[in-house]
């Protein structure tokens, strides 16, 4: 089930927006394609990220993928449980596997991102 209250990108990240804070992670589809996650490279608190810019990498046994941010802003929180338990991304992609929280520069147009239904169609087509 793809959570209805989130928004999605074409590179399989999800975003939860509360006021000017955006929590970002990767979707269940993404984690299942990647396989068992072994390592994440995430930015430090205070770093800036750009919309459509790479904010880190995610590594499974067989691949390394870039993590792309859908918003611009400053990283105010990073999930510090992930370094020791990268499997949280596989087990709880939408909750315990959250990666970073960004204080957005400008309120993003939510319409630019996919809804749950649009994302579902997107992964069916690709």
């Amino acid at each position: 089930m793809i959570p209805e209250d989130l928004r999605y990108t074409a590179s399989h990240e999800w975003v939860r927006v509360e006021d000017d804070l955006a929590t970002i992670g990767i979707t269940d589809h993404a984690q299942s394609e990647l396989g068992d996650i072994v390592y994440l490279e995430l930015p430090k608190v205070g770093a800036t990220v750009q919309s459509n810019g790479v904010f880190g990498t995610i590594e499974s046994v067989k691949t390394v993928s870039d993590l792309t941010s859908p918003v611009s802003g400053e990283v105010v929180e990073v999930n510090d449980e992930l370094p020791d338990a990268p499997e949280l991304v596989n087990e709880e992609p939408y909750s315990g596997g959250w990666m970073i929280i960004v204080k957005m520069e400008a309120l993003i147009e939510l319409d630019e991102l996919m809804t749950a239904e649009q994302y579902e169609n997107f992964i069916q087509e690709h």
Partner: protein, 444 residues
């Protein structure tokens, strides 16, 4: 002999079954204008009998170290190779295997490499080691590239007491990747640490010292370590694995990366190759470390096993973002080193190192008493030392060769200011009689 088992009739049958007219028809993809119209101009074919005869002839045109006593070191050493080493590396289950990408049928290779990594860590005092690089020289260049990748800086500060061929290799790699080699002067046959301090800046990625250095001198590492870390550069040490039987290892000197030429660990001199690049570093840098690495894990039944790991750093997955382009390395030589260290063990390696040390110091002391020879530098040394010769070194070595001895390296070849100085080496294989023969001939 081309080792093709299939006979003409078998080939005909195969062609028929795939509906091809002839073998040439199978090469249709090659445009006719690009098909070679003549035979390759290479000799042969030779039968095994003829090949052996020819190879024996060729081998007799070389002075081999079984017949000539070797007092030459300079990066490649005539150390003792226990018979256990070729007995194991000669097993074709090991030497005809490929890289262990299918771990279930490669546990022999993988466990041996795991043991190699473990032994390297224990020997060097470092936290992680890889499965090997091509040789000490390229390992050192890759260490510098790794330091650049970690720090984002392009200056490589290198002592001029590091092996000249290693520095040359580093210069080639530096030029290719847009980095800079900055050489540090020497005082006598040791690194000039004041000069080193002056050269370490905010653009220094690494400070590189060889210990014992090319001249055999035991360097004091703490000054270089301090200079490097003060400015946020990495401290890289290139060492002699045999010397680590006695000397404090680079890990205890807070080295960030340690490399070595592993040839002394059970690998023939081989006219310079194949060799064994040893590479180890601090655990915090493991993801930037080049080369293959084996890790322990369990199978579905909970049995312990070994597998290549952290492969995502490597060329076959990461491609242009890989930590290095290295693919094939020196696995069989790593196996040789593993068997060597297992055979000699704690006591044996210490003993070998001690014998080298004692032989070298005895020889040096005795040579110093000869007229026409001088030991001009007062520095602690391990198994090699520098002798100043009043007679031309080419003459000395010619006379030694006539008496079936290979004399030391003419340092003038690499260091113009050191013309007339010879680098002599004594390993554990040298007996007191051999040393006396050398000295007699040098004296006459």
């Amino acid at each position: 002999m081309s080792y093709v088992p299939n006979t003409d009739s078998e080939r005909r049958r195969m062609l028929e079954s795939i509906g091809a007219e002839s073998i040439s028809a199978l090469f249709e993809q090659i445009p006719p204008s690009l098909i070679l119209q003549r035979h390759l101009e290479v000799p042969g074919p030779l039968s095994e009998i003829e090949l052996r005869k020819y190879a024996s002839e060729i081998s007799r045109a070389n002075a081999c170290l079984d017949d000539y006593t070797c007092f030459l070191g300079a990066g490649i050493y005539d150390h003792y190779i226990p018979s256990t080493v070729p007995a194991i590396t000669g097993r074709s289950e090991f030497y005809t295997a490929y890289t262990p990408y299918q771990p279930e049928i490669s546990q022999g290779n993988l466990q041996a490499i795991f043991e190699f990594q473990s032994l390297v860590c224990r020997l060097t005092g470092m936290e992680v080691a890889n499965a090997s690089m091509y040789d000490g020289a390229s390992a050192l260049a890759e260490a510098a590239l790794m330091a650049t990748s970690i720090t984002g800086r392009k200056g490589w500060v290198v002592s001029s007491c590091v092996h000249p061929a290693y520095r040359e290799t580093m210069r080639s790699y530096a030029w290719a990747s847009g980095c800079r080699v900055v050489e540090v002067a020497r005082t006598g046959i040791s690194t000039d640490f004041e000069d080193l301090g002056r050269h370490v800046t905010d653009d220094t990625a690494c400070v590189i010292i060889q210990n014992p250095n090319f001249f055999g001198t035991v360097e004091s590492l703490s000054e270089a370590e301090a200079a490097a870390h003060e400015k946020g550069a990495l401290f890289v040490v290139c060492c002699d694995p045999i010397s680590l039987g006695l000397l404090k290892p680079p890990g205890e000197h807070n080295a960030d990366i340690c490399v070595a030429e592993g040839q002394p660990l059970g690998i023939p001199t081989g006219f310079g190759g194949p060799l064994l690049g040893i590479f180890a570093c601090k655990k915090e840098f493991v993801r930037q470390m080049p080369g293959r690495v084996v890790g322990a894990t369990t199978d579905a039944n909970g049995r312990r096993g070994y597998t290549l790991t952290l492969q995502t750093r490597e060329q076959h997955i990461r491609r242009e973002k890989a930590t290095s382009n290295i693919c094939t390395n020196e696995a069989l030589n790593a196996l040789a080193a593993t068997v060597y260290l297992a055979t000699l063990g704690k006591h044996g390696l210490r003993r070998v190192a001690d014998l080298c040390l004692q032989n070298a110091h005895y020889a040096a002391k005795t040579i110093a008493t000869l007229p026409h020879y001088e030991l001009p530098f007062d520095a602690p040394f391990f198994k090699e030392f520098v002798v100043k010769c009043r007679k031309p070194i080419t003459e000395i070595n010619k006379r030694l060769a006539r008496k079936k001895m290979i004399g030391g390296l003419d340092l003038g070849r690499f260091y113009p200011e050191l013309v007339g100085h010879m680098l002599l080496c004594m390993t554990e294989k040298r007996t007191v009689n051999e040393i006396h023969s050398l000295i007699e001939e040098m004296a006459s």
